[in-house]
């Protein structure tokens, strides 16, 4: 209740400046005090003045009563008249005394100082009662008013007359008015002086505040080069330089005090000792206003130093951004618009900066998934790796990049910084390597393939020999025989052609772009190529393919190589086991496919020698081989691993030494 009242009282003053508040408070107080003093003093002065003048009138009347009594007794009226004229008109007294008259014991006027007939009304206007020593009454003489002071003239105990002294009320009023105006003038003068003093005082208090406000406004506008005050400029002849301002790594004991971070850059004190005496940070002696000014001054200087350091740091990181060797983008969330891009990005992607800013990142990277879908961690520091992403330059030219992304805060909003590395060349090298490895595999397979081709050729040979013999002998070929032989020959030719087609597909250099592939297809292809040859070695491949699997994003050709490498590896493992453990059963390879959640899984299982525990995590490294035979370069599994990784798949080993190994490939099902 009281608080509400107070607030209501203060509310109208909220817009008033501090200076005016101080000024008017002082003024109001002084005015109230002055008014109180003025009224009190006026009352005292006026009342004492009137009583003093009355006393003077009484004194005049007493003098006349004393000196005039003998004249009255003698009837010497000229002397009496002379006496009252003397008393009435003596110098300045004539202004105060408006008349004097003397009446005898019968109240008849015997002398007066008027220059006209004595007004009858005045004669009895103020009578002194018997036994009274005086009587004062306000009388009217014509139209003027006077205080009539009556004193009896006595001789012995009898009254022989009365003297009346009329004090000019106008004159008294004028004296009072003069007194009043003098007094008020004095009070006014004091008020004016107080006015000036309070104005000065209010200004003195508020001027630094106004100045600070002005400086603050300047700071708000970003102008940090304002002149703080002349002290700064004049000290040390104007050549004053703060080492901390010149060198951002220089330790400043005010800025880098204990418990505070050491500068923006976190740089250790590199410049040695801090300044012994700081000419900038001030702690002067003075009143609160001066201290506030100092504090403010120091604050501004700190801001200036901080700003300087910030600038330096900003420049440093800006140069990392601007001159970084890889393209860097800043993407807004969640729509992945490009907010910023460094010059390298412009160069690599072939866009102007203006074109790039505001463009959706997806136009450059159509496959880019929003990071939310991939990971769900906190924005800051969130990482996202996307190897071998397909991006497009200007003109829709594709190229491959490794993409790294992490969440940052850009201009106060969550954003993603994306760095890409152009890996197209590397991928091409990879492809060449894979190709070479494939050629080598073809060589390895050539005996099996030759054998496979020989069979249809032999069949065709037998057919053609039979036909030739029959023609030579001149024998009629029965019609059904002829049809059977020709059909068999056609079948054998088709079979040979199919082998050649499979072979050609295997040897073909793969495209870089991924395609939708069903896993059965490369498995069947490899199976058809190697089945016969493996059977020669007494190794049986068993297919357990689940029907209706969803396709995956991969290369058919490369997956063939993957499976070829895996079965080749299985064959070697079986061969090794046969050598070391002749009595143990070996010679069975199972290729199995299936679906697990949204993953499409393919397994290649053998009952070979198995992989030792210690080398299990090394077998995908290039040039690593457990095989003692020198014809193997140790690249097969490494290439397999690379291909699977490139397709976004995973490869897993389940092995028991001496009992067999299972390689499990899992791919994300294509949408």
């Amino acid at each position: 209740m009281v608080r509400a009242l107070q607030q209501a009282m203060y509310k109208p003053f909220r817009g008033v400046s501090l200076k005016n508040k101080i000024f008017f408070s002082i003024l109001v107080v002084i005015l109230i005090i002055s008014a109180a003093i003025a009224f009190l003093a006026r009352w005292i002065l006026v009342s004492s003045l009137i009583s003093e003048l009355e006393l003077r009138g009484i004194a005049i009347a007493r003098t006349i009563a004393e000196r005039g009594s003998s004249y009255i007794l003698d009837g010497n009226y000229p002397e009496l008249l002379s006496l009252i004229f003397d008393e009435a008109k003596l110098k300045e007294r004539q202004h105060l005394v408006s008349y004097i008259f003397i009446s005898d014991r019968d109240e008849q006027v015997i002398s007066h100082t008027l220059t006209r007939r004595f007004p009858e009304a005045l004669r009895l206007a103020n009578r002194v009662g018997p036994g009274e020593s005086k009587s004062v009454r306000l009388c009217t003489l014509d139209d003027r008013r006077a205080y009539d002071i009556a004193i009896p003239i006595t001789q012995g105990i009898y009254r022989i007359g009365t003297v009346h002294v009329g004090l000019n009320k106008n004159h008294i009023d004028q004296l009072i008015a003069k007194l009043r105006s003098t007094f008020l003038g004095f009070i006014s003068l004091i008020i004016v002086i107080i006015f000036v003093i309070s104005l000065r005082l209010a200004k003195y208090i508020t001027m630094p505040i106004s100045k600070l406000t002005r400086i603050s406004d300047e700071l708000s506008k970003g102008n940090f080069d304002i002149q703080l005050d002349q002290v700064q400029a004049t000290a040390a002849g104007g050549t004053l330089e703060c080492p901390a301002l010149a060198d951002a790594d220089f330790p400043c004991r005010y800025l880098d005090a204990e418990g505070r971070p050491t500068g923006i850059a976190g740089a250790p004190p590199a410049g040695g000792e801090a300044c012994r005496e700081c000419p900038f940070f001030r702690h002067q002696k003075g009143d609160e206003v001066a201290q506030l000014a100092d504090s403010f001054y120091n604050m501004i200087w700190s801001i200036r130093l901080y700003r300087r350091r910030l600038n330096e740091s900003e420049e440093k990181y800006r140069s990392l951004f601007d001159h970084g060797p890889d393209p860097i983008f800043v993407l807004g969330e969640p729509d992945l618009t490009i907010l910023d891009a460094n010059p390298r990005a412009l160069e690599v992607y072939g866009f102007g900066k203006a074109e790039l800013i505001g463009k959706p990142f997806r136009e450059l990277a159509p496959d880019q998934r929003p990071p939310e879908a991939a990971e769900g961690g906190p924005p800051a520091g969130r990482l996202m790796d996307n190897p071998r992403a397909l991006h497009f330059k200007r003109g829709h030219k594709p190229f491959y990049v490794n993409l790294h992304a992490s969440g940052i805060t850009y201009k106060g909003r969550p954003a993603i910084i994306v760095a890409t590395t152009d890996i197209t060349e590397m991928i091409e090298k990879d492809a060449q390597l894979i190709q070479a490895s494939k050629m080598k595999s073809l060589g390895e397979m050539s005996a099996g393939i030759a054998h496979e081709l020989n069979q249809p050729l032999n069949a065709i040979k037998m057919g053609s020999d039979y036909l030739g013999l029959m023609v030579e002998k001149g024998r009629e070929i029965p019609r059904e025989h002829l049809h059977q032989v020709v059909a068999e020959m056609g079948t054998q030719v088709e079979r040979a052609a199919e082998i050649i087609t499979t072979l050609r597909a295997f040897g073909r250099k793969a495209d870089l772009a991924l395609e939708r592939v069903r896993l059965d297809k490369p498995i069947q292809a490899v199976y058809s190529l190697v089945r016969r040859q493996f059977e020669l070695d007494n190794i049986h491949i068993e297919l357990q393919l689940a029907p209706g699997l969803p396709p995956v994003m991969a290369h058919d050709n490369r997956l063939q190589q993957v499976f070829f490498n895996l079965v080749a590896n299985a064959r070697d493992a079986i061969g090794e086991k046969r050598e070391r453990l002749p009595e143990a059963p070996a010679g069975r390879i199972v290729i199995r496919t299936g679906q697990r959640n949204d993953l499409v899984v393919a397994e290649v299982q053998d009952d070979g020698i198995g992989i030792a525990e210690g080398v299990r995590d090394k077998i995908f490294e290039p040039f690593f081989s457990t095989k003692e035979s020198s014809h193997d370069m140790g690249l097969g599994l490494a290439i397999t691993y690379g291909i699977v990784k490139d397709c976004g798949g995973q490869i897993h080993i389940d092995s028991r030494e001496g009992e067999g190994t299972t390689f499990r490939l899992s791919f994300t099902a294509a949408a």
Partner: protein
């Protein structure tokens, strides 16, 4: 005092808030408001439309002067000098058809009586103006009455400075002042006669003080001061003490400001004592009466200043002997009176009075009369004798004439070196 809240915030409204001159304005209004109740009230005396003492056929004047007692010669001579001319005017039909009547009351040269007379003249007799007062203490006494009643007083047989400074609108002097008389006399005594030891003998009242002050001022201008001063009381002849003091000082000249009786006694006693300085007397003393009293001692050097031209002065001839001259009219209306300097002064006063009334016109008022007097510039009385008044100068004449007692009468001094030689020879 709450100021109206400005809607903008402080940092925007700073310009509007910093200087607030209306604070001064507020204070000014406050102070003026307090002072407003103190304005002095107008104090004016209601002027009655009827002019006192003026009727279609008569102008009534009042006078209080010594007609009896030790100064009665001055009063009677002044009055007869004035009345002879006024009677002549009345005989000619008056001024604008109004006869001039003068009520003359005797005050025996006593100030209280003069005051009482004057009050009675103003209140009871309702006179138009006061006229022909004689003597300094008496006339000075009635100044308050004149100021208050605003009644003109013309023609005072006194050269008192108090009637001239400060300036009074209603006082109209005709003759030169005692200051002028004593100043001229002191210059003659010092410069022409080579006297440096000068004493003052004065009547112990306003008249004597005025003459003393005039003498002292004149001596101070010459870097001198009175070597002695003696006095007597008005109405007495107790001059021995003053004489003893002045004689002891060895003064070579005595300036005398008194009436004829004490002064004559002083001179006679000095002669008896063998003390023979140069006596100088101001005009008020009354030359003819003094000369009569000094018939016994023709060998004393007695010099007297006059403010009206002596008969020897050629410019006085018309004034004295013309058809309306003083001597002619005195002979006609007061054949038993002998002409005198005092009477001549009264006569001149009457001339000025009549001229003023004439100029004031038929619609006579006191203010109009004073204005008419002030309009008199170079009013010619005789051939070279002119009277000039102005709103700032209420003294008609400034001339001072010097006469010397020779063979029982005062004769005009034409050559001061003659007196000087005689003085040197006497030593």
């Amino acid at each position: 005092m709450p100021r109206p809240v400005i809607a903008s915030r402080v940092h925007r409204g700073r310009r509007a808030v910093t200087r607030a001159p209306w604070g001064l304005v507020c204070m000014g209004i406050l102070v003026m408001g307090l002072l407003a109740g103190c304005a002095p009230q107008d104090e004016s005396i209601p002027q009655s439309s009827e002019v006192p003492g003026v009727s279609p056929g008569e102008i009534l004047l009042g006078s209080s002067l010594a007609l009896q007692g030790h100064a009665s010669f001055l009063g009677t001579q002044t009055l007869s000098g004035a009345m002879c001319y006024l009677q002549h005017v009345n005989a000619q039909g008056g001024v604008h058809g109004r006869r001039i009547r003068v009520i003359a009351n005797d005050d025996s040269y006593d100030p209280p009586v003069c005051l009482a007379n004057t009050q009675r003249l103003i209140i009871d007799d309702q006179v138009f103006a006061l006229f022909c007062y004689v003597g300094t203490p008496t006339t000075v006494r009635i100044l308050p009455l004149i100021d208050e009643a605003r009644i003109p007083l013309l023609g005072m047989f006194t050269g008192a400075n108090a009637l001239r400074e400060p300036f009074h609108r209603y006082l109209i002097n005709v003759r030169a002042s005692y200051y002028q008389e004593t100043r001229a006399a002191v210059r003659h005594l010092v410069n022409d006669l080579g006297l440096r030891k000068i004493a003052v003998f004065y009547q112990y009242d306003a008249y004597g003080f005025d003459g003393l002050t005039g003498t002292e001022l004149a001596l101070r201008e010459l870097e001198l001061s009175p070597v002695a001063a003696g006095s007597y009381n008005r109405g007495t002849l107790d001059v021995q003490e003053g004489l003893a003091r002045i004689r002891a000082s060895g003064a070579e000249a005595v300036v005398m400001i008194g009436t004829y009786d004490p002064c004559a006694r002083f001179i006679r006693l000095a002669r008896v004592a063998g003390y023979r300085p140069v006596f100088y007397l101001v005009s008020f003393v009354g030359a003819d009466e003094l000369a009569r009293r000094l018939e016994c001692c023709p060998d004393m050097s007695v010099i007297m200043s006059q403010v009206v031209p002596p008969p020897e002065e050629h410019e006085a001839s018309e004034l004295l002997e013309g058809p309306i001259g003083y001597l002619t009219l005195l002979e006609r209306y007061y054949p038993e009176d002998l002409p005198s300097f005092v009477g001549l002064e009264g006569y001149i006063n009457a001339r000025v009075l009549v001229e003023g009334l004439q100029r004031a016109g038929p619609g006579l008022t006191r203010e109009g009369f004073v204005d008419a007097i002030e309009s008199m510039g170079n009013f010619a009385l005789g051939q070279d004798l002119t009277i000039t008044f102005s709103p700032s100068d209420h003294q008609g004449m400034d001339r001072v004439y010097f006469t010397r007692l020779v063979d029982g009468r005062f004769a005009m001094i034409r050559d001061w070196s003659v007196i000087r030689r005689q003085l040197q020879a006497a030593r």
